[in-house]
């Protein structure tokens, strides 16, 4: 007897609305229909209505978890188009933020993966150690998410000398905790029973569906933009690409866990070797032409293509998020497994589909705080954080 089990559009498995129709026989999934578009906001339509320097703020709001990756790929694309090379210090800054974001994203996924298999303790513990990283972001860039660090021709903010030890201190904590999580999660027999040989995506399917990121590397398909097409500081640091052959959910989890260690390594080296100097080159105009930017986001390769006609706005701006390719591969990965596994497999590619700065708090129609007041509150908190970290 065939039945349709809907997952979504509103389902606790996903933070975002997507609709998966699982066609099941008993508990076994025989087919999957994916219906997306619940999150379609038309970025490619809005982008040509904004100027070159406004677009990073728009693409930042494609996805809140990879809110560094999209602007990063976008500025790389524009720099490719205009043949601009940003100053070395800004390259290092961008690399550091890119890697810190990767840790934040992988930890987020790890916590949610724990939640999905009903292991809330993992979720709470992992997110407990993710929280100081968000404080660090707030300290460096003034916001917990939506960092706004990338700018055409450089970085928007500098990392101050006095923040270095704070980052180092956090990395020490993280290194210790990451070893703990890796051991705890990979040695737990019940977790292994749930994750091993589930949702296997073979290498052939991975190539045919052109998946990217940890999803591909978990299937033995060794692609990583940071190694293949090194940009910014990635060819000046020493790190390893993590590849596993199995293709199951456990392999993807392993890739993400071990990648955090590599990210720690990269950030340490960047902090150590960071050159002095300015953090941006002036870009006066974008000449007519086209440019491609790619960045290895936590989920895979982010691809941005821009075309300029010499005016102050892009003519066409194409965005390809890694999940666009990864989610389509679920159709083959989920077939033949049970509903309980399907939920896990759908989450295992770390699906991500994906707001502005005006803030008011209204209380029964009366304005209580203005934007300025809130900005002040925010500064005060940043100061407080700084004091706390000094101790």
């Amino acid at each position: 007897m065939r039945r349709v089990v809907p997952i979504g559009p509103y389902h606790p498995l996903q933070e975002e609305p997507e609709f998966f129709k699982l066609i099941v026989e008993g508990e076994k999934v025989v087919d999957l229909e994916i219906n997306i578009g619940y999150n379609h906001r038309g970025h490619e339509f809005i982008s040509p209505t904004l100027t070159w320097d406004q677009v990073p703020f728009l693409v930042e709001r494609i996805c809140g978890i990879c809110s560094d990756s999209h602007p990063y790929a976008y500025v790389l694309a524009v720099e490719d188009c205009a043949h601009v090379t940003p100053p070395p210090r800004s390259q290092y800054i961008r690399t550091i933020i890119g890697e810190l974001e990767r840790i934040h994203s992988h930890y987020l996924w790890l916590g949610l993966a724990g939640h999905f298999i009903g292991y809330n303790t993992v979720w709470m513990w992992v997110w407990r150690y993710r929280e100081p990283l968000l404080d660090l972001f707030e300290l460096i860039m003034g916001n917990r998410n939506h960092y706004a660090i990338n700018k055409i021709g450089g970085a928007r903010r500098d990392i101050r000398k006095e923040d270095f030890p704070k980052i180092e201190k956090y990395l020490d904590l993280l290194e210790e905790k990451n070893a703990m999580f890796t051991k705890a999660i990979l040695d737990d027999p019940v977790i292994r029973a749930r994750l091993e040989d589930v949702g296997v995506l073979s290498k052939e399917d991975a190539i045919a569906y052109a998946v990217t990121g940890p999803t591909a590397r978990g299937s033995g398909y060794a692609i990583d933009v940071r190694k293949d097409d090194p940009y910014d500081a990635y060819d000046k640091v020493d790190w390893n690409e993590i590849v596993f052959e199995e293709g199951d959910v456990l392999a993807k989890a392993k890739v993400r866990l071990l990648e955090c260690d590599e990210s720690i390594k990269i950030v340490r080296q960047c902090l150590k070797n960071m050159p002095e100097g300015s953090i941006e080159t002036r870009v006066d105009e974008i000449p007519p032409g086209e440019g491609i930017g790619r960045h290895e986001a936590p989920r895979g390769e982010v691809f941005h293509y821009v075309r300029s006609n010499g005016s102050n706005m892009p003519v066409r701006h194409k965005v390809r998020a890694p999940s666009f390719m990864n989610i389509a591969s679920n159709v083959v990965a989920v077939r033949g497994y049970s509903i309980a596994d399907a939920a896990l497999v759908l989450a295992s590619v770390d699906p991500c589909y994906c707001c502005t700065e005006r803030t008011f708090v209204y209380q029964s129609g009366k304005k209580k705080y203005s934007g300025q007041d809130l900005l002040k509150l925010s500064w005060e908190k940043t100061e407080k954080l700084k004091r706390r970290y000094k101790k």
């Binding site: 606790p12 008993g26 009903g118 292991y119 809330n120 303790t121 029973a193 749930r194 309980a340 596994d341």
Partner: protein
């Protein structure tokens, strides 16, 4: 006069109201301990009562096209069976003479009523996820019931083949709790794991896996009906550990029982918080092969008096 006493014992003490109040308090302990394990603070003590009160006073929506009678029968079955179970456990512990032949069988049936209520309710909801939940509940019931019955057989064997509940308690008073023997430990472990499954706690919360099938059988329930399910769950959290204590740990008609009771509760909460959810086929394998063989071994040991 007698009727009033019986009604009092079923509705107030130790029946519905008493076990519901204590049960809800235990769910607070559960949430608090869970929160502490998670490095959190956790809810205040009145939280489960506030939840219950709010659900009672909220709108109850009956999904279109589902049978009203069956939709409410589901939660009602659980509440009624757990009230009766609480009364039986108390009367037999404090007055073993009130026991009659075969009352253990009655208790087994009462314990089965709660999952049957969930299956009825889930099937009556007319929701694909609820029916998946109901079918998982059924599978899981068949999974844990077999070793559970074997464990009860161990207890009966050790009590000298007596299926009177009062006799089991008296036998333990005479020879010491069954727990202090090898087969008694096996029986206790099996009953504890079945309790975990009966309570639908992780790793056996498969029927109501929130992240997979959105609370499963309860998905369409709201207001009073959901409150009844919640209170059934709370009452089970009270009566099932008591059942375990009276079967293998010498009854609860003494002050030590409170400590034993809390120990079992904390054990259940710890198991809940240090395991991920199993898949339904893994749960089936676990109960039938792993725990099944263990319980048969216990039966053999009990036969030789170990």
């Amino acid at each position: 006069m007698n009727i009033v006493r019986i009604l009092f014992s079923f509705i107030v003490f130790p029946g519905f109201i008493f076990s519901a109040v204590i049960g809800l308090f235990l769910t607070w302990i559960d949430r608090k301990v869970t929160a502490r394990i998670h490095w959190r603070v956790g809810p205040p003590w009145f939280q489960p009562y506030a939840d219950f009160l709010k659900l009672l006073l909220k709108e109850t929506i009956i999904p279109e096209g589902s049978s009203k009678v069956l939709f409410f029968l589901g939660p009602l079955l659980g509440v009624v069976s757990m009230s009766i179970l609480a009364v039986m456990l108390f009367s037999m512990n404090f007055n073993p003479a009130s026991s009659y032949v075969g009352d253990l069988i009655v208790i087994i049936y009462l314990l089965a009523l709660a999952p049957i209520g969930i299956i009825i309710g889930g099937s009556a909801s007319k929701n694909p996820l609820a029916s998946v939940g109901a079918s998982r509940e059924m599978t899981q019931y068949f999974a844990y019931e077999l070793p559970f019955l074997f464990a009860l057989a161990i207890v009966i064997l050790k009590a000298g083949g007596n299926i009177k509940f009062g006799e089991i308690i008296l036998a333990q008073e005479a020879t010491g709790p069954f727990l202090y023997s090898l087969s008694g430990v096996i029986a206790a472990v099996v009953i504890l794991l079945s309790t975990q499954a009966k309570l639908s706690f992780v790793p056996f919360d498969i029927p109501e896996a929130e992240q997979e099938i959105m609370a499963g059988p309860y998905i369409e329930y709201s207001g009073v009906a959901l409150a009844m399910y919640k209170v059934t769950r709370a009452m089970m959290f009270f009566t099932l550990p008591l059942f375990l204590i009276s079967l293998v740990w010498g009854g609860f008609a003494n002050w030590w029982a409170i400590l034993k009771f809390l120990l079992i509760i904390v054990l259940i909460i710890l198991i809940k918080n240090t395991n991920p959810r199993l898949r339904i086929d893994q749960a089936l394998k676990f109960f039938w092969i792993g725990i099944g063989i263990l319980s048969i071994l216990g039966l053999v040991l009990a036969f030789y008096g170990l």
